[in-house]
Symmetry: C2
Subunit: 317 residues, 2 copies
């Protein structure tokens, strides 16, 4: 889960004007063009979040990835089921797995802590010794040096498990919550030559985003993620509408996949938003035929973060 | 899971003679008599292990406890689902919950670490930063001071979560593996005024057990736990035989309860011993009517660790 949390944070920021020069800091050609596509190409990443969080999430996400429609995902290294998805990643090196850098542990009865020794990241912990339950609490309390150490440790641990991430993003949007956190995320992404998920659409709501970017940073055009205001019976309509009205450029649709099973219902207890039913609905739609057909009819091409990341490799030459 | 690991460790110890004076260190009256029962009473604890380990374990164990036949259980504090069973314990203060002190993380794809900061208990960790996968590896590598700090931290955390344990035992028998570990367990039990699960039957296989005991330590008469050499079709026969031939004194039957569901099958993957099917078989038998009827027919009385623990309170007067 990412976008609602992020947007609520961005909305609650002072509505800063985008510095007029900020877009000039980006290359003249669009990211799509730099990737070799015509400027009017509709390019789409269908991205599953939260892998590693639970067995149900891993199992449903892997099944969806194997249908080929969901074509990218990101993994939560501190979570109890990380070893399961890391093993899958090792035997599927072609899969487009990024890291869903994790600074929160949001569920009531199912919790996790940091990768680093707790003594070294005390500001990352709630009073029970787990990661903070919300991105707002986390952002308010965490020390940036501890954040940087922890997210570098998550990347290092992923690599120790044989996982070579193609991109970085942030669970519940914690690392986009303020300038300092975003600067930390960007620095770690650059140091690791990994694209960070950033959407140009967010710029007019949070001035620190464009102001920190350099010309060679990757920025996609938009991110779509279903929100709690969509009732279950409108689920399909929401996604169909999003795909039919897709604009040229690079869009990421974020989905949250799991089965509506005992494990997932217990893990997300008292939290229908991003809950077990939500994730089953996403799974059903993104493993079915309808979305796939709509992509064909609307001339939408799927791309991955691996493909996008090649720009970073090229720019180093 | 406890007993096979423990017995294999005890068998592999040099077959020491029990020091002839060692039983004299115990009170003349049996534990049953000290509890106010006649010396020929057949007293039984039906004890579920591994609570907190997974949602499936919590869910099945709670259901079995609520039937009243399974009447005691112990909880793994470092595990991801600890918060769920701790919440149940807070609202069911009458339940007989002990702590299943945990120094191992034995499954392939589902792992946990210590309660304490990793820097403080480095000998407790495997190379991936989780607890060691087996009790043998753990016993060979862990520093006793770190063990003591960690198990005291597990008790402290349980209390912070509102859980008042009635007894202590050790996941996979790690704390019974050698003299130093057992001494540590005993010291922590005594300091916390909590009975430690110790069976008199083990004495002739590991001399350090009786040699470390003081007259006021609690010792039950025997522990029964089904082992991997029992095929599934003989499951019921094993337990029926155990109950029909139950001797006077205090016996604990250890069961491992969970549902044979997706979560549990994935958690115990490639490990049928103590696996999902095993736990479902235990659940089915210990929530059914047959065992309950056998207890009545054989004049067997259920007792709890809470009841046994009262002896410690009395001895302090």
């Amino acid at each position: 889960m990412l976008i609602v949390f992020l947007l609520s944070a961005l909305y609650s920021s002072p509505p800063g004007q985008v510095a007029s020069g900020s877009t000039d800091r980006q290359p003249k050609n669009s990211l799509a063009e730099r990737l070799g596509y015509p400027p009017d190409a509709k390019l789409l990443i269908i991205h599953a979040d939260d892998l590693g969080m639970a067995h149900s999430v891993n199992s449903a996400s892997v099944k969806a990835l194997e249908t080929g429609l969901v074509n990218s995902a990101s993994i939560m290294v501190p979570c109890p089921w990380f070893a399961e998805i890391a093993a899958y990643a090792r035997t599927h090196p072609e899969a487009d797995f990024g890291l869903h850098l994790t600074l929160t542990s949001e569920w009531k009865f199912y919790r996790w802590g940091p990768v680093l020794s707790k003594d070294r990241v005390t500001t990352l912990l709630d009073r029970d010794g787990y990661l903070h339950p919300t991105e707002v609490q986390a952002a308010a309390r965490i020390d940036l040096r501890e954040v940087e150490a922890e997210i570098r440790a998550q990347i290092a641990r992923a690599r120790e498990f044989g996982l070579l991430p193609t991109h970085l993003d942030s669970h519940m949007g914690t690392l986009y919550q303020n300038r300092g956190l975003f600067e930390t995320l960007l620095r770690v992404g650059r140091d690791n030559r990994l694209p960070v998920m950033i959407s140009r659409e967010w710029f007019d709501r949070a001035q620190y985003l464009p102001s920190l970017l350099r010309p060679d940073d990757i920025v996609i055009d938009r991110v779509i993620s279903i929100e709690p205001n969509v009732p279950p019976e409108r689920w399909e309509e929401f996604y169909i509408g999003a795909i039919k009205s897709l604009k040229p450029g690079i869009t990421q649709i974020i989905v949250h996949l799991a089965y509506d099973d005992e494990e997932m219902r217990a893990a997300t207890i008292e939290h229908p938003d991003w809950g077990a039913g939500w994730r089953q609905r996403d799974f059903d739609l993104f493993t079915g035929e309808k979305i796939r057909q709509l992509l064909r009819e609307n001339n939408i091409k799927l791309i991955t973060w691996r493909e996008i990341g090649k720009i970073i490799a090229k720019s180093e030459r």
